[in-house]
């Protein structure tokens, strides 16, 4: 795992925020994905059975990550699921970032899963993805 996740508590009083540091763009997307999955439920308590393949492209990595995280929140509500994992690859081809991911989870089960917050959406408050001296950072505030 080549990323670290922090959960600053001072940023969003009634909501949730996370910061990800990673060694590559792909890892920062993986870290942010993991942070969101953990915000919804403890992934190790979620079995499989539900799966979606998702592909997204954008010239702007920041926009791509925002849309991808928003899509995870969408499926949480639309399919009534929480997630175990989301293996993904990110490549930069020409000017375009290409994300290929599998979203794997199971229907919400109060008996067997450790459920966390019902995230309503990803916000643009303080939102950014940046690169500095080979290190990638993302800050995401979730509306709960």
């Amino acid at each position: 795992m080549a990323w670290t996740i922090r959960w600053p508590e001072h940023i969003a009083m009634a909501d949730a925020a996370f910061e990800v540091d990673a060694s590559s763009a792909e890892e920062v997307v993986r870290g942010a994905t993991e942070a969101l999955l953990q915000s919804l439920a403890n992934p190790v308590t979620v079995s499989g059975g539900w799966e979606r393949s998702i592909e997204r492209t954008d010239v702007d990595l920041s926009a791509l990550l925002f849309d991808w995280l928003s899509e995870i929140v969408y499926w949480k509500d639309a399919a009534g699921v929480v997630f175990r994992e989301a293996p993904l690859t990110l490549v930069h081809e020409g000017d375009v970032w290409l994300l290929r991911a599998r979203l794997i989870g199971a229907p919400v089960d109060y008996q067997t899963q450790e459920l966390h917050a019902d995230v309503k959406g990803v916000t643009k408050h303080l939102y950014h993805v940046s690169q500095d001296a080979g290190q990638w950072k993302a800050l995401v505030v979730l509306d709960v």
Binding site: D77, A78, G80, H116, D118, T123, K124
Partner: protein, 379 residues
């Protein structure tokens, strides 16, 4: 004791009165009106820096009239501060999802009962279990109401009226809600498929975060105006009431997110710049502005319906536990009011699009056909 005002901003904050403070237009480039904060000195000094920054950002939005306002409980929010109020000219002003909030028509409702603490205490555990069973909360919660897309369309256009027609409430509930629980004349075709998919199974669910369903006790020493409280059915003497705080859930959030995206693109076309991405907006009279207004009203109606279905479930839970009908238990709705909404209202200045985020309207008694007047209980 020092009289020096210590606020969390470098901007000048001038005292207008003991409860009104003003940040002049000179304090930030682009301010079109001053910002005013309603607060005592102590409350003002405890406000976070985000309040001052955000309320002055709002003062820069096109078409704003008189002041960008912040209420005493103001605190940092997304775009507008929570507790933020701003009115924009309906002809040449804007509408902004950031002034409404992601949880469109998040609101509060209070249900009274004839029960007292002594009646409820022995049954509290069973009552809580029943409430948890009937009103789902948290991640992935879906309600017991199963809807086709067509029927969900009727929820969007008819709000709490739809619920009452389906037996989820009493006709008299409707007169005790802002707008009678239904904002008329909305066009559901402007709501995206994404939003519908997120909302279609969420009717009757609380969500999480700071949303709650609370069984509360009214003590006599907490009633400040006995006559008004009595007119509203609040009699004290350890009376049990139930309060609900929730809104349009993922559906409203998706509507807000969808139109923030639309507005981010269209702002360039309309020559609008904003100080914060989450203040993205469109001219109210533009096609984009009108579509958002309609979609926002669909979400507002869905929130009225959500709180109404929850009320139905609360009444069922109490009836089950206490072995009497909700009517016999006196479970009347006291009032339901939105605190995240934009509305077109007529003032001496003309027609204004009033954004209230984490703020409720409370008109005086002379103000004729208003939500408060229509919802007022009679003694």
């Amino acid at each position: 004791m020092s009289d020096e005002l210590r606020v969390n901003t470098d901007m000048n904050v001038n005292r207008i009165s003991d409860e009104i403070w003003e940040i002049p237009m000179s304090e930030k480039s682009g301010m079109l009106v001053p910002a005013r904060i309603y607060a005592t000195r102590n409350i003002l000094q405890s406000m976070d820096s985000g309040v001052f920054d955000q309320v002055t950002n709002v003062a820069c939005l096109p078409g704003i009239r008189r002041y960008a306002l912040c209420m005493p409980d103001g605190h940092w929010g997304y775009g507008f501060p929570i507790g933020g109020v701003a009115a924009f000219d309906a002809q040449d002003g804007i509408i902004s999802p950031g002034g409404v909030g992601y949880d469109i028509n998040c609101g509060m409702r209070l249900i009274r009962t004839d029960l007292t603490l002594a009646d409820v205490q022995p049954h509290l555990e069973r009552l809580m279990t029943e409430l948890f069973r009937k009103v789902p909360a948290g991640v992935g919660a879906s309600g017991f109401v199963r809807l086709s897309r067509e029927e969900f369309g009727r929820v969007m256009t008819h709000g709490a009226k739809w619920c009452v027609e389906r037996g989820y409430g009493w006709h008299r509930d409707l007169i005790r809600m802002e707008e009678g629980g239904c904002i008329e004349g909305v066009d559901a075709s402007v709501v995206t498929d994404h939003a519908i998919q997120r909302g279609i199974n969420q009717l009757g669910t609380l969500g999480s975060g700071n949303h709650y369903l609370e069984v509360q006790v009214v003590s006599n020493d907490r009633i400040f105006d006995l006559a008004t409280a009595a007119a509203l059915g609040i009699t004290g003497h350890e009376q049990i009431v139930v309060m609900v705080h929730c809104g349009s859930r993922g559906f409203g959030h998706q509507v807000a997110s969808d139109y923030l995206k639309v507005f981010e693109k269209s702002m360039r076309r309309y020559g609008i710049t904003v100080k914060d991405q989450q203040l993205a907006c469109a001219p109210f009279r533009s096609p984009e502005g009108q579509e958002y207004f309609s979609a926002m009203n669909c979400a507002a109606n869905t929130a009225f319906a959500n709180r109404q279905v929850i009320t139905h479930q609360i009444r069922e839970a109490f009836a089950t536990v206490f072995g009497q009908s909700a009517e016999a238990l006196g479970m009347e709705l006291v009032y339901d009011v939105a605190h995240n909404i934009a509305k077109v209202e007529r003032y001496p200045e003309g027609e204004l699009v009033v954004h209230r985020k984490g703020a409720t309207r409370a008109f005086g008694r002379r103000r004729g056909s208003t939500a408060v007047a229509r919802g007022r209980h009679r003694a």
